[in-house]
Structure formats: C-alpha cells, structure tokens
C-alpha cells in the first residue's frame, strides 16, 4: 500500500472513532440529572440563576437524539460549558491550566524517554551482570510503586524533614507576586521560560525548585516501563544475525551496541509512545493533586470531587481527542519509516 492511501484510510477511520468518543461522553452525561447536565450549556455565570430556563432552552427533557445533536453543535462551536469550581468556562479553564501541565511534561518526557532507553540499553548490554540486576530490581520496584504514595513520601522527606527544600504548588508567594506584577511579561505562561525571557533568575530558580518533586514522581513509574521494554527489545536485537556480522568484522563493542543494536531496538519504544502519552496524562492527575500543582490534572481532580460535570466530561473529551490524534501521528510516523506496517494486515 502506498503511504498516501494508508494516510487517507487512517484519516477516514478517525471519523467513526471521534464520533463514537462523543457518543460515549454523551452517554455518560445521561447518568446525571438535568440540572447538572445544564452546566454544559452555560456560558456566563449570570445564567447559573436560571438553570430551569436553560433546561427548557436546550431541550434537556427532549428525546435523546435531539439532545445529542444540540450538544454536539455546542461542542463544535467551542462551548463545553461552565466550570463552577474555578468560575470560568471549561474552554477557558483548559487553556488556563494547560501551560502548567505543559511545563511539567516538558521536563518529565525527555527524562522518561532518555532515561528509560539508556537504562534498558545498559541493562541488556551487560545481561546478568551487576548493572543488569540492579536496574532490573529498580524497574520492578519503580513499576510497583503507587505514584500517589511515592509523591507523598517525597514530600514528607524533602518538604517536611529538609524544611521547605522542594515545596509543593507552582511558585512561592513572594515570587508569585513578581510574576503577576506589571513589570513581568508572561510570554508563554511557562514560569521557568518566562523567567529566562524576563531575565528574572529568581523566578527561574523558584519554578525549578517547585517542579523537581512532581517531575520525579511522574517519571519513576514510566522510566521503569520504558526500561523494561527497551531491555527486552535490545536482547532480541542483540541475538540477530547482523550483530554477529558486525562483531565478526571487528567493530568496537560500543558501535555494535549503540549503532547496530540500539537503533533497531528503539522501534518498539516508538510504538508505545501513544501509551506513554496516556500514562503521562494519568500520572499528571495524580501528581498535580499531590503537589497542589495547579495544572490540568489538578483541575480535573478538583472538578471530579466537586461533581463539576461539565468540566470533567470536557476534560475527558479534550484528552480523548488529543490521545486519538497522538496515536494517529505515531502510527503515521511508524508507517512512514517502516513499510512493513502499511503492507501488512495489521492495519485493521
């Protein structure tokens, strides 16, 4: 199959899935009473006093299929409802909280991927040696750690014992004043980057100090995951004929491992990047709730425990669509670089 026809096929397949995603969200919505569902149509806080009117206006007591299309129309016009927890519209809330989470992900993702690949390679190259045993034991421990517990223990040590060394939240109070003052321009809303751009090093330092523990919490489980995958993939790759050839022609071991074995072994790691994305989103909710780090995950958590229906479903829809698109990009990249994928029957 040509890459182009594969691309078209995948894009067409996207339509029923996205359609299904909205139906699933709408189905969940039906489990809530009408006055809570009405929150999905509110665009202005003044409307909160006239919930009955909204129920009438959007026909929330009408047949389901009618309601579905009314709701879908709202979604397409960018209205996901009102988030009562933070007192702004759901769309605004998503854009408001996104930078904090992005900042977290920007630090955590490279650490997870590079750390996992590096450890996996080392472990496989020294199979059954001390390095291998230690990193495998570490991986089993990391893989079994409850993220939420690990984060609290880190806080207990680095915030409680070493008083205030790595505090929770996003910024200290005095630094927060600087950031929100008129002299400080928030170009990106990523605190450490804005700090650099404003040449305000106290902000950079403070932002980094607050992000250390969340990044560690978010990374540990996922490094363990990537490392395990990389190790087994490396071992398989090292058993192949071309490695024997490479060694036979006298290449240094370093080149054999890093160039010949590792490059091939990285393909399975690429294919799970969709999964990694989901794991990071999951982890972000837990991590941000532990550290009171006000990003998307924190918001999703607050809205969930306060039964803020429009927000949690809006967030589910947002992360679902993002996840579907991530998977699409991964698959397309994979198909582009490995023709076996688009030729084989695995497309279904």
């Amino acid at each position: 199959m040509e890459f182009r026809s594969y691309l078209i096929r995948r894009l067409l397949l996207l339509i029923p899935v996205l359609f299904g995603v909205t139906i699933l969200i709408f189905g969940l919505l039906q489990l809530f009473p009408a006055y809570q569902r009405a929150m999905l149509y509110v665009t202005d806080p003044r409307q909160l006093n006239n919930i009955d009117e909204i129920i009438q206006m959007y026909g929330l007591n009408e047949p389901l299929w009618k309601q579905y299309f009314t709701w879908l129309g709202q979604v397409f016009s960018g209205n996901l409802g009102w988030s009562k927890v933070v007192g702004m519209s759901v769309t605004d809330a998503i854009f408001n909280f996104l930078p904090a989470t992005l900042e977290l992900a920007i630090f955590a993702t490279p650490i997870i991927i590079i750390g996992g690949i590096w450890l996996g390679t080392k472990s496989a190259a020294h199979k059954d040696g001390p390095v291998d045993h230690i990193s495998r034991a570490g991986a089993i421990v990391g893989w079994s750690l409850p993220t939420f517990w690990f984060g609290l223990v880190l806080l207990m040590i680095f915030y409680g014992y070493f008083t205030g060394l790595f505090p929770p939240e996003r910024l200290s109070t005095d630094i927060s004043v600087i950031v929100h003052s008129g002299e400080f321009t928030r170009y990106t809303k990523l605190n450490f980057l804005d700090g650099i751009l404003n040449w305000e090093w106290s902000v950079v330092f403070d932002a980094l100090r607050h992000i250390v523990l969340p990044v560690i919490t978010l990374s540990v489980v996922n490094i363990a995951f990537i490392m395990r995958l990389m190790r087994s993939s490396m071992l398989e790759s090292l058993g192949r004929g071309y490695i024997l050839t490479a060694r036979a022609k006298g290449l240094p071991e370093k080149t054999v491992i890093n160039k010949h074995a590792r490059r091939n072994a990285m393909i399975p790691v690429l294919t799970v990047s969709g999964y990694l994305f989901a794991a990071i989103v999951n982890g972000v909710v837990i991590t941000e709730s532990i550290f009171n780090y006000k990003g998307l995950g924190w918001w999703a958590w607050r809205t969930a425990i306060n039964l803020d229906v429009s927000s949690i479903l809006g967030f589910a829809l947002f992360s679902g669509v993002l996840f579907v698109l991530t998977n699409l990009v991964v698959d397309l990249l994979y198909a582009k670089f490995d023709p076996r994928v688009r030729l084989g029957g695995s497309i279904k």
């Binding site: 809530f32 993220t147 517990w149 806080l155 837990i286 999703a300 969930a304 039964l307 589910a316 992360s319």
Partner: protein
C-alpha cells in the same frame, strides 16, 4: 500436563517468581483470616467499615490499643490495612473475572465470525481505548456515584477492550487451523466450534496473564480512592487511607516525621501487594512467551 510441568520447572528455577508467589500467598492468607487477625468490635455492623476511636482530628501514634496508630478522625490503621486486603482481592478478582468474560465473548465472536461483526466490535473497542484510562474511570465513577461497585465498574469499562482485542487476535490465529475446518465439515455448530475447539486452544495463556493483572487493577482502584472518588469515607481501603494521610505529611516542629505511620503503612501494603503480582507476572510472562520458550 506437559505444559504445566514445563511451567513449574522454569518457575522453580527463578528466585524472583518464588518471592512473588510467597508475597501473594501471604496477602491471600491475610484476606482469608482478616476476621481473626483484626476482629470486628462487638456492635459494629459492617465489618468493612473501619471502627473509630473518638473523633479527634490529629492522627495518634502506634499504641497498645492501635498497634499501627490511627488516622485523622481516629480510624484504626491496623484494622484498615487488614480488611483493606480483602477489599483489594475483592476488587481485583471481580474486575478480572468480569473483563475476561466480556473480553472472551466479544473477542471470540469478533475473531471467529470476522467481517462486519468484527469491524463493529473492534471500532467499539477503539472508542473505549481512545481515552487515557484513569480519566475515563474518573468520569464513570462520578457518574455512578461513590461506592466500591462504581470503582469496579469503572475499571471494567477501561480494561475490557484490550482483553477483547488480544482474545480476538488469538482466535483469528486459531481459526485458520485445519481442525476447525474439519469440525465445521462434519456439521458442528458455530457455538460448538467456539466453545469446544477455538477457546480451549487460545485461551490458556490469556487466563494466566489476566489473573496477574490483579496488581494493576488494585493500583488503579487505589488511585481512584486516593483522589477521593472511590469508596465512601471510612471504608477499609488502602487508597483511601493514604488519602487520609495527605494532610499529615509535615510533622510537628519538634518531630518532622511525627505522623509517618499514616502515610507509610498503607502505602507499603499497596506496594508489596502490587509487587508480588508483578514479580509473579514477569516470570510467568517470560516462560509463556512462545518466542522465548523452550530455548
């Protein structure tokens, strides 16, 4: 039988798998003997609700009355972790059983009949797999209202699709075998072929692997309870006990680890429980992986 012996042989060679087995067995014993290890006080109606000793908000350190101390609101930690083991097994076993049944029915129907039926079922799994699992589970839990049943349903909702897919794949591989054709040829019905030939030939490894996912299921359930979405307050559940501890990570000025027990003890229970299953799972997966087997 030969397969079983092969399994046992490799299993015994690996100390990690033995360690995993021991951990899981110890937890199973704790769950079975919970009423003896931590007897329910007289007049306390629901044994799964942790008994309280007063209503003081500050956690109390371990003492002779409460050997692991108490959480905020004076819930007994020892009672909570012991009965929490039962909750963990209950959630793990029920969720895995339910996902297996759903996965088995939908996966085998899709794989065996193929065509349009297969297409529809697979697109439905796509939709469920289109969400980060925890987010969908959170939405389902709050939609159903906080209870242990909601937690189980939420986790079933996010796990069945991957099972259905794996089972479908295996059925597809088996379907092409000659003996299936032979069976159809002599007039066997579809149901008979699926139940009698297809499933027994593809399902054995899936069953073992599924049971090993109990650790992961319990971890997700604990995460939901930790976020305050799972079980009602006071239910014996590890995740909730850690949620109770989150306000007590910073100790008193004189003793920075004054409330260490509230965080540490329930956390260690979850950690060892999950690790036991993971150790067991790792070694069995290695043994069962056909590419590695019999080398």
């Amino acid at each position: 039988m030969k397969r079983f012996k092969f399994l046992l042989y490799h299993f015994k060679k690996n100390p990690l798998s033995i360690a995993g087995l021991v951990i899981v067995v110890v937890f199973a014993l704790i769950a079975i003997f919970a009423p003896i290890i931590a007897p329910t006080p007289d007049g306390h109606h629901d044994p799964y609700m942790i008994p309280r000793d007063g209503y003081v908000s500050t956690p109390q350190p371990p003492s002779s009355d409460h050997i692991f101390g108490t959480t905020q609101g004076q819930y007994d930690i020892f009672y909570g972790v012991i009965w929490g083991t039962r909750t963990a097994f209950q959630i793990g076993l029920i969720v895995i059983a339910a996902t297996l049944v759903i996965g088995l029915v939908l996966g085998s129907v899709a794989g065996y009949f193929g065509g349009i039926i297969d297409e529809i079922i697979m697109r439905i799994t796509d939709i469920f797999l289109a969400f980060p699992p925890l987010i969908l589970a959170m939405a389902v839990t709050i939609a159903l209202g906080a209870s242990i049943e909601s937690v189980m349903i939420a986790i079933i909702v996010v796990t069945w699709p991957s099972y259905a897919r794996v089972i479908r794949g295996d059925i597809l591989a088996v379907r092409e075998e000659d003996y299936i054709e032979a069976s159809r040829g002599v007039g066997a019905s579809h149901l008979w072929v699926i139940l009698k030939h297809v499933i027994p030939n593809s399902i054995y490894p899936i069953f073992i692997m599924a049971s090993l996912d109990i650790g992961a299921v319990v971890l997700t359930a604990a995460a939901l309870s930790f976020l305050g979405l799972g079980v009602p307050e006071g239910y014996a559940d590890w995740g909730q006990m850690i949620n109770f501890a989150r306000n007590w990570i910073v100790g008193t000025p004189t003793n920075t680890f004054a409330y260490w027990f509230t965080v540490t003890i329930p956390g260690l229970f979850i950690f060892f429980f999950v690790m036991g299953w993971n150790l067991l799972g790792d070694s069995l997966r290695d043994i069962l992986d056909p590419r590695l087997a019999r080398r």
